[in-house]
Amino acid sequence: MATTADVENVTHAPAEPARTGLWKRPLKNTGLVGWLTTVDHKKIGILYAVGALFFLLLGGVEALIIRAQLMFPEQEVISARTYNQLFTMHGTTMIFLAVMPLSAAFFNYIMPLQIGARDVAFPRMNSLGLWCFIFGGIILNLSWFFPGGAPDVGWFAYAPLTDRQYSPDIGVDFWIMGLQILGIASLVGSFNFITTIINMRAPGLSMMRLPLFTWMTLITSFLVILAFPAITIALIQLMFDRHFGTFFFNVEGGGKPILWQHLFWIFGHPEVYILILPAMGIISEILPVFSRKPLFGYPLIVFSGAVIGFLGFAVWSHHMFTTGLGVIATTAFAFLTMLIAIPTGVKIFNWIGTMWGGRIRFTTPMLFSVGFIWMFMMGGFTGIMHSSPPVDAQQQDTYFVVAHFHYVLIGGSLFALFAGIYFWFPKVTGKMMSEFVGKIVFYVMFIGFNLAFFPMHILGMTGMPRRTHTYKSGMGWEQSNFWSTIGAMILGLGVALFVIQIIYTCFRGRRTNGDPWDARTLEWVTDSPPKEYNFAYTPVVHARDQLWENKHGPDSRKMERIAPGPHGIHMPDQSWWPLILAIGLFIACLGMVFHGEPAWWGEEARYGLGITICGLLITLGSIYGWALEGPGGFHLHPDPKEYDGALPAPESSHGHH
């Protein structure tokens, strides 16, 4: 058997990184250049997280302004147009710029560690995904600074309101191009994750031994690659309608705006699962750790995740029950939607089963996880309600639906993502977040969240529609709206406290050892934070919860280690090209935005196409630069002393703690 001892025989030959391309390939992995050119999945993950948290705060501020406007009836804190822009940008920001990238941050950082890989399959493509996300966020938010302002058509952007006839302003163009570039980010990321998970697992880590979070990453990635094409094409069609006079959604030319809704929700419903499945994966990692028990019914949880993903493509029209679908279609989509409740329920049962008989430690991540189950249950149950079209007819487009999806997306996704942050923060930084502050954050958020969103159920059932910037007094909505705003502010306070805690912990946090939670999965086998090469050896996996087996299992299930060969560990070189490629796309998208804006740019708008072509040429050029520079790479020879900071010696089963 190979052991770490082999490495001591290795000579520490200096690595000679390749230097190709138009300029020298960046060698330094520190400083600004280090971050801009990084291909390290961990750094990319951190950048994703920082970007996502920034946009979470931005979207949160937008939400607070919205709630301030609705605090009292017939208020005029902001104008109707501004309100419409705010809820459009709030929705778009939270979905595409906060929750998805935060999930992507975990995919990037945690997944390769969980499968014992050195990095993702295509490190430079990973970096491209990151920069496309950043530039997509920039494009979307640039719209605030141009005449006409941000898009004001809703994140769903139903045609024909998005037609130039009804939205002549530039906002919708920003929205289209921003989403398009964010779509590229998600797509390249997902191809990468799929390849990584299928192909780069450590020896012995069969699919049915994969940690649940990795499984959910895989399923989510499949959802992304199959759902995003629908919106990409729909956006292209909308762009053609707005810029080149086609009739896809233009009623006067015979277009059917209902088609937009179908295409949008063919994407939009799987998107919902893209937002929630990673959260379920995180929960399925945390519950076993703090219950000190393996996941109950692992195969069934995996299977139900896959079923949810698959059924997610067969239920899109339940967002359209009020659009006059035929009886057969309505019934079919209603029943398929109800069917989804079963695999979702299975997950909840199995989470309870995981905790059952365990020894539950209510740490901050665990509190957020349990909070997730409660809140997700609430959101799920209201979801069952409007899976029934007659009930949905009263609830669609009301605050009831707003309550429902915030229970799923905040109480669900965001709580789970926060749980993940508390759980993996020591992994990423090597520092512990304070349990005391963490619990305060949880309770503030939990109370604020429920106060903000529970009254919305009542608002919806008593007839308050969504997306209205004000409401008449005397409709019986005053109380609920008032308390909802108060709750939103408390929730905002909780999030602010959380961000402060993160920043504080980064600088002043208590150092911790590699495995502070007594965890179960492979990512905790390495140092915290991991070295840039992740594992100084190739782990050979013999069980599902490998680290747990290392600590408490029989010898036959303990991990083995294969030392790197005489060349050391191969590392890819950093690269400028992903960033330049993303800049090319950014320029192309901006050109396309300006092409549609004669209102304030006059005849010069026609140069927009020229800018687009320049951007595309930059893109093409960077593809060549990328291809010709090659993956490059150098070899590292880890110092034997750096090995496995957290891994107990395989001989002793109780070495830890």
Binding site: F222, L226, I266, F310, F313, S317, L325, G326, I328, A329
Partner: protein, 120 residues
């Protein structure tokens, strides 16, 4: 410069690779002949003055054969691991299902006349 053969295989297998690829040549040739023949048949049968359903079914079956032939032989699925086929089929099944469902949904247009299979 003559590069060495496929590095995935041991050196001793080089001759086997060559033989294998030679066999593939004839397979590819036969497949391409079949594809052209089927295209020709398709071009002819659309003019047959027979029941539209027979023509449409025939068209569907023939293009499906062409489709499968290309992915099975030209795209190496026959020789590759099953996983590639499964991966692609996931996309095909969901895309096919979506197209079918959309076609059905737009037949249900309550405003218009029953347009079921007006095109097909």
């Amino acid at each position: 410069m003559i590069p060495s053969p496929d590095p995935r295989l041991p050196e001793s297998g080089h001759a086997a690779v060559i033989a294998e690829e030679h066999k593939k040549y004839f397979t590819f040739f036969n497949v391409s002949i079949a594809l052209i023949a089927i295209t020709a048949i398709e071009l002819v049968i659309v003019y047959f003055p027979i029941n539209k359903w027979i023509v449409l079914t025939a068209l569907g079956v023939l293009s499906l054969i062409k489709f499968l032939a290309v992915i099975w032989w030209f795209m190496h699925l026959k020789w590759d691991r099953m996983l590639c086929t499964i991966l692609f089929m996931i996309g095909m099944v969901i895309a096919g299902g979506t197209v079918t469902a959309l076609m059905f949904l737009f037949e249900e247009d309550p405003a218009g006349p029953p347009m079921m299979f007006m095109l097909f």
